[in-house]
Structures are given as structure tokens and as C-alpha cells.
Amino acid sequence: MIILSRQELREIGAIHLLANTPPSLVEALNKTRFVTSLKTFPRVQVLIDDFDRLTSRTGRSSISLGIAYGILIALTLHSEADSSTRVCFSRLSWGEDVVEIARSMRESTRVVVVQGNTTIPHHSLSPSWSTGTASGSTLVIPATRS
């Protein structure tokens, strides 16, 4: 399991205490080393068992709730697959919202910017060439006349 220092535990508890909306909770927890490490944790069943244990307690502190939300976010964004459906996230008051927000973060998007033709053609237009690009960067195509 991942070992957390006292400072990290306090940080997670503070994030849970201070977050006033599900998006702010997700954003803050997602930046912690704790959640970042859990997203690639190889044994997903361990995370599921820990989540069940933390959320089935009657007495919950901000730290335990923060850890539970962190595990839920990590399960949803896990590198293998979205495993949030394998836990009862409705045990947390913002469980459903957190899962929905985290799932939307999974959606991959490719944005390509193309410079259109801004020269007035005398003849019909024809494509020229395209440049290779790294993931998510800009492609520019200068137009030429045929």
C-alpha cells in the first residue's frame, strides 16, 4: 500500500474540509501524490477493499473521507480501466458527482487547428502539404493555387 506522511494526511484532510464543491474536491485531490500514485497501483482489488473499509465505518474523519474520495477518483481514472462501478460510491455524499466529474476527465480529445485558405484563388483550390505534429499540437496547412 502507499505510505502517507503526517503532512500528506493533514493535506488530504484539509482538502476535504475546505472543498466546497465536488469539482474543487476532485481537482485538488487529483493533484496529490497520493491519488497520482493510486492511479497506477497494480492491485485494483486492494483499492476496492480499502474503499469499502473506509466508507463502512460509522465514525469518519475528514482525513478518512479525503482518503476515500481520493481512492474513488483513482479507481475512476485508473490506468487499467474505470473501476468506479465496482464500489458503492453512493456511501459518500458527493460520491456520484465525483465519479461523474472524474469520468469526464477520462474523455480524450484531439484538437487540431487548421489555417484556412485566405488567398483569393483564380482557379480551383488544391491542398498543398501537411506537417507532422506531436500529440495535441498545431497543424498548419498553407493553401496554394492549382
Binding site: 474523455e107 480529445t109 487540431v112
Partner: protein, 150 residues
């Protein structure tokens, strides 16, 4: 197999940085109207939502093409990378576009043997004839009496 869930052109598409939610402004569903040609369009966007089955490949080589009246205006290679997800979105922003004539404007992305295309009509509209001062309708004054325009 790759499938297209939704596709449409719009004047602008915004993706929220925090929530990744998409907002489209000015969806072009009823064509583009122009008084005269060439027509300059500051920005056009084409958005496609893709789905794949878990057993399908994660990466595809796609090609975006823009044609007007059968003439190709732009062609761009666009990779589709699903990662571990079964959904993916492609947003093409065309900045600065000159439409030289009326015709069918076709947006198209081809990937994995699947084509996501959308066509809209670019057409000319006529302005109403200007009205001469002599033939203008009487203009009511503030007192309620009508007056002929000078």
C-alpha cells in the same frame, strides 16, 4: 468497430478545462448564407464524437478533408488515440476560411474505415432593394400627427 456517435460543424466549440464539457456556439445546420463571394469566415469548427468497442484497436490514423463544390480546400492527417477509453473526441478548428463560391461545403474525417461527414449548403441571398426617400412611408411625429419625411 469504430463508430460515430455525433458530428456537427459550428462557428465555435469550447471545451471546459476543468470538466471537459463541450459547448457549441452557432451550430451550422441550415447552411451558410452569403450576399457575395468570396465570403470570409473567421472560424469554423468540426466536432466528432467517436466510440469503439473494448476489443477494438486503441489508435487509428485519420484524415480530415474540407471540400466546397467538389474542390478540396484542406486536408489534414489526424490521429485518433483512445488510450484505455472507449470514447474519443476530435475537434478541428479552421481559422480563416475564404469561400470563393456557392456550393456544398463538406466536412469529412475518415478513420478506421469509418467516415464522419457532414454537408451544408453555401448559398447566395439577395438583399432587399433600398427604399428611396420619396417613396418612404409617412413618419409619425411625437405629437401623434403624421408628417411626410423631408
Amino acid at each position: 468497430m469504430l463508430a460515430v456517435r455525433l458530428k456537427f460543424p459550428a462557428e465555435n466549440v469550447i471545451i471546459d478545462q476543468q470538466t471537459q464539457e463541450v459547448a457549441a456556439i452557432g451550430i451550422i445546420a441550415q447552411g451558410v448564407k452569403a450576399v457575395a463571394f468570396p465570403l470570409f469566415v473567421r472560424r469554423l469548427c468540426y466536432l466528432v464524437f467517436w466510440d469503439r468497442l473494448p476489443e477494438d484497436a486503441k489508435d487509428y490514423d485519420g484524415t480530415f478533408a474540407l471540400r466546397l463544390a467538389g474542390n478540396q480546400i484542406a486536408e489534414v492527417a489526424i490521429p485518433l488515440n483512445f488510450g484505455n477509453d472507449v470514447t474519443h473526441r476530435t475537434l478541428v478548428r479552421i481559422e480563416g476560411l475564404l469561400l470563393p463560391e456557392a456550393g456544398i461545403l463538406e466536412f469529412s474525417i475518415v478513420a478506421g474505415g469509418v467516415t464522419a461527414n457532414y454537408s451544408v449548403e453555401v448559398r447566395t441571398v439577395q438583399l432587399a432593394d433600398p427604399v428611396s426617400p420619396q417613396s418612404a412611408a409617412p413618419v409619425p411625429s411625437e405629437t401623434g400627427n403624421t408628417q411626410q419625411p423631408h
